[in-house]
Subunit: 356 residues, 2 copies
């Protein structure tokens, strides 16, 4: 068990936003929210998955909605904690720890905030090792956790408990429709589980990983080293292309930020041109008519000069970016996981082939 | 306390569909569903509101969705009972009686089915004395009942408990979005209340009233009397126009059957032409540019020859219909009620004036 301090937050925010592959919402807003809780005297305790006992009762915390909305409609800040509390009341039991939903822009911070607000330890890990757009894509559920009961809470005081669902995809559909109805952003509590299931299904130590990636970027900036090289030395993976954003199509559809960004190669990559499809998160790189990189591998865009992650909602013509490809965690490469998070699960008629 | 038998069902179905002002779904399907339960040995006990004690715990049962969908997607039949059960589990308490949501095509039967399935008495009355399209429009809520917790259950096994809502309109919005997501039809359980609140807020004895209206129609048919005259002698109200349907616009929007039907006068009404706006239910009669009849007064269309109610989803060019206007119950005419069910609540810039 260790505690997160204010000094850790910028590193975690940068690292998680890179792992978030464009999604998970605004990292800056998430960081501010967390910082304010620490300044108000709340503490954020982190527990490693190995420390969980079978008697622990965990809930998965995170925000639901499109990243675009997270910019336009500021969160109240207690939606996720309220969702967890609603689930406790429904179950008549108290949770002993919080498991993060995903690493990603703002969402990496959501579970930390719930830990601070409910004074519960937060597990060092998450359900994706990255960010994905849909709820059935968390390893807690892929590996047998229960999608119900789950709870959705909004900023206005509405609390919805999804008591039974046919399967995790129906949880996604119902929770999404409620989220859209209440304004496109809501707090979520799901996948209630014991310590044994959390240990078995979590992508472990990703909070650490995010912190180390972010720290490498910040140190490189301070020492005039290349921040992208520094981050890749921690995360693994490779620079796929250095280039300039030359086109962005983006639309808000069914509560998701969907679209495509085109990047024209630059310098050593001059003459190459790629496009990247996204649904909140970057999904597929297309080059010369081929899907060269696909989910679940991580596709991250960072600014070339500072290694600053560029989330999908701020993609803009003219940005100089490095397109990075990072290996996905082993738990996302199994047949069971690929059925849920592989390219076919997103409607692409291609098989997953590891690209790093 | 009395029991409903198979012989009562055709009368109730016709009478409730007339009170349903075009809405509430298919009366024939509702009747068949109820008849099958009786034939399987279940009983339907009816209790008058005056018999309720303060110790009773009631839940309001009904179906949610558009009438159009009720034709295209047959209900499983236990959605409403499953919603009530989900709410019992959430509360950790058992209900002692069922209060009907509304009188209307199929929905008059929904509460009777729940009574049969859970072996609980059904209160003789309902929350509208007619049908309305939205949940906040039930008198149980208009007069101070609690919109949460409520539950929605579908045919697939999904169960959603709406644990807290800002107000009854938010209950409507959230329950509607879930209903649309699961296919446009769901069972609802809402407005949990004690016997005292039910007695105070229910529109009483509408099951009786529906039965008497339907019986009058059936007897008139058997004796070659005019079925419409017979029904009006029981319900009160008047024949507004006799005519032919000459145009129907209908669309499914936000889960509702919305549209407008035009009726050209016939016989003594030749030369007159009216149009009627509907949102699941008939809302307003327009004649010569004036809104001559509006909610909450009842606007019912029945076939001229047989007095058969014509619900909004089966309106069709060429039908010979009598357009009837029936007075609404006193509990819908208060200032408090008109704010929720008057013409302005449906977006019309006119005041309610009693038309019968």
């Amino acid at each position: 068990m260790w505690q997160i301090t204010e000094a850790d937050l910028p590193s975690i925010a940068i690292g998680a936003a890179i792992l978030g592959t464009g999604g998970g919402g605004n990292p800056y807003l998430g960081m501010i929210r967390t910082r304010e809780l620490l300044r108000a005297g709340r503490r954020i305790r982190v527990i490693d998955p190995e420390e969980l006992t079978d008697a622990d009762l965990l809930v998965v915390s995170g925000a639901m909605g499109s990243p675009t909305v997270s910019y336009e409609k500021l969160a109240r800040g207690d939606e996720e904690a309220e969702a967890a509390r609603a689930l406790e009341r429904h179950l008549g039991r108290r949770f002993t720890a919080i498991a993060p939903l995903e690493m990603g822009g703002g969402n990496s911070m959501a579970a930390l905030c719930v830990g601070a607000q409910l004074d519960l330890p937060v597990v060092n890990g998450d359900g994706m090792g990255r960010a994905f757009p849909e709820l059935q894509m968390i390893t807690y559920l892929i590996y047998g956790g229960s999608p119900a009961p789950s709870a959705v809470a909004d900023d206005k005081g509405n609390r919805v408990v999804i008591g039974d669902v046919v399967d995790a995809r129906w949880l996604e559909r119902i929770a999404r429709s409620v989220t859209i109805e209440v304004g496109g952003h809501a707090g979520l509590a799901t996948a209630v589980m014991d310590g044994a299931h959390c240990r078995a299904s979590i992508i472990p130590h990703t909070l650490d990983l995010a912190h180390r990636i972010g720290t490498a970027v910040l140190q490189a900036r301070d020492t005039n080293a290349d921040p992208v090289d520094a981050m890749l030395s921690v995360s693994g993976g490779r620079r796929y292309l250095r280039g300039k954003i030359v086109d962005v199509e983006r639309r808000l559809a069914r509560g998701f930020a969907r679209g495509r960004v085109r990047v024209a190669g630059f310098g050593g990559d001059a003459g190459r041109s790629i496009s990247i499809d996204f649904q909140n998160e970057n999904l597929v790189i297309w080059e010369d008519g081929e899907a060269t990189v696909t989910v679940p591998d991580l596709i991250a865009l960072v600014t070339t000069d500072r290694g600053e992650p560029v989330t999908t909602e701020v993609l803009r013509y003219g940005y100089r970016v490095d397109v990075l490809v990072l290996p996905c965690p082993a738990k996302l490469r199994t047949e069971q996981a690929l059925a849920v998070v592989g390219p076919r699960a997103f409607g692409y008629d291609v098989d997953y082939r590891p690209s790093v």
